[in-house]
Structure formats: C-alpha cells, structure tokens
C-alpha cells in the first residue's frame, strides 16, 4: 500500500472517538516500515510493543497536541 493511502481511512475512523472531526488535525507524520528487516525503537509505548508481539502487520497511531500553529519547524 502506498504510504499516502494509509492515513485517510485512519483519520476517518477516529472521528468521534479521538476528536470530534478530523478537520481538527493539523499535522500528520505517516511512516511505513517493513517489520521483517527489524527496527530500533526508543521508548516505545506498551501499545506499540503489543503490536510487535502480535506477529502481523499493524497500524500504530500516536495522537499529540497540535504544535504552535504560528510556527513551522522541520
């Protein structure tokens, strides 16, 4: 699956659960990784570790407060 096809259905599915409407989302970072090649994760959440332990592909979604809307920092 192309990486740009991953976020949209996720954002739609979270309407009413994590936020009222995905219109509220201002920034997205979407990563696609081949888990067969191994990964190093710094301070993983228990949810993320659980995903790895299940053996299948999975989506991990991390919600954070929107950054300062008057700044764009790369």
């Amino acid at each position: 699956m192309d990486v740009d096809n991953i976020p949209k259905p996720m954002l739609d599915a979270l309407n009413g659960l994590v936020y009222l409407d995905d219109e509220q989302v201002t920034d997205i970072l979407c990563r696609k990784r081949n888990l067969n090649n191994g990964l190093r994760i710094e301070n993983p959440s228990s949810v993320l570790i659980e995903g790895f332990s299940r053996g299948n592909e999975f989506h991990h979604i991390l919600k954070e407060e929107a950054p300062d809307q008057h700044e764009v920092i790369y």
Partner: protein, 218 residues
Amino acid sequence: MEATTALEKQRAHTIAQEYRSKSYDVIEEPASELLPDFLSGYKPDLLIRKDNEALVVEVKTRSSLAKDPSVRDLARLIQAIQGWSFELVVAGEGEKPSSPEGARPFEREDVLQRIEQAESLLELGFAEAALLAAWSASEATVRVLIEQEGISADLFNPIHVLSRATTDGVISRDDYRLLTEAKKYRNALVHGFKFDDFDYNLLGDPIRTTKRLFTLND
C-alpha cells in the same frame, strides 16, 4: 531477560559494539548485582551508561516478544525513571535463509508437479514426503497470489507470506489456519522431529486447499 536466540544475541552484541564506539559504557547481560534496585528481577540484554544518561536495551524477535509480556512492564518501568530510557530492538526474522545461487521461484508447472507428487506420495503411503511436497506447492502458490495483487512477495519467511496473504484478503482466515497448522508439522519434519498427533488422513486438506488456491491463479 537473557537473549534467547542466536539472532538476538548477535544483534545485541552488534548494538553493544556500536554504543562502545560512541564512548558509552556497555555491559552485556548484566548480572543482577550490577542493576539498580528498580530493575530487580529483570535481566536486560544491555545496560548502557554515559555521563548522566542510562539506557536499557532489549533485543527481541517478534515471536520472542509474543512469549515475553514482561518487556512491556520493563519499558513502562524504565520510562518512569528520570534519566533512564529504554530501547527496544525488534530483530528481523524475515531475512532470507541461505539458498543455492540462482534459486528462483516455482513457476506454474513446478507448482502443479508438486501437487501431483504430493497426491501420488499420499496414495502410496509416503505421508511425510507428501506433506513436504504439498507444503512446497502451498507456499509457492500463496506467493504467486500475493504478487498477482501487486504486493511484493519478497518475503522468504513462510510466516510472513501467509500472514501477509491473509491481511490483504488474498487467502481466507480458514485457509490461513489450515496451512499454518500444516506448516507446524512440516517444520517439525524438516528439522528432524517426529510427532504422533498428525492425522495423515487429513493431509488431503492442505493438498486440496492448495489446488483450489492454485486454480485461482488461472
């Protein structure tokens, strides 16, 4: 937690060397007396320190993680301590096993031949050989089906071929369960283990499933 497989140990050592090259103090599989009190009862793979930084590293394959839920507890524990951090290394299990130079995927005729061989061997009473021939055809068929969906099937590990095929709806969950069950017995045979509980009368199921999936390839 002691690294339980050669892959995990090797990976842990590589990571240890990497941190040492950056002037970190690294202890591999630290003894309990070298651990702080809050890590009592745990056996991390690496304990790493530099200045005021402290890091615990655990190296696990995904299958090891499934068997060891305490890694989650360890991660939570460490991340609550100021100045400590936790690194999880998920060691890849999907690296291609060694194979002869020039090995290439089965083609249609190869798969058909293995299916016919499996059926003949079963009729002749050579059930173990039939299982191996059937599995060879099964994995090749599923790989072809994945590629037909436009998905890269460069996944030599049969664990990932089947799960990927199921996730993407290429094979049903029932087919996944049947083939995964057959794979367990195939693995045992290939690695020199015998078993008493396999019903060889049911060997026809994976063969029939493979034929049906193979027909989808037409």
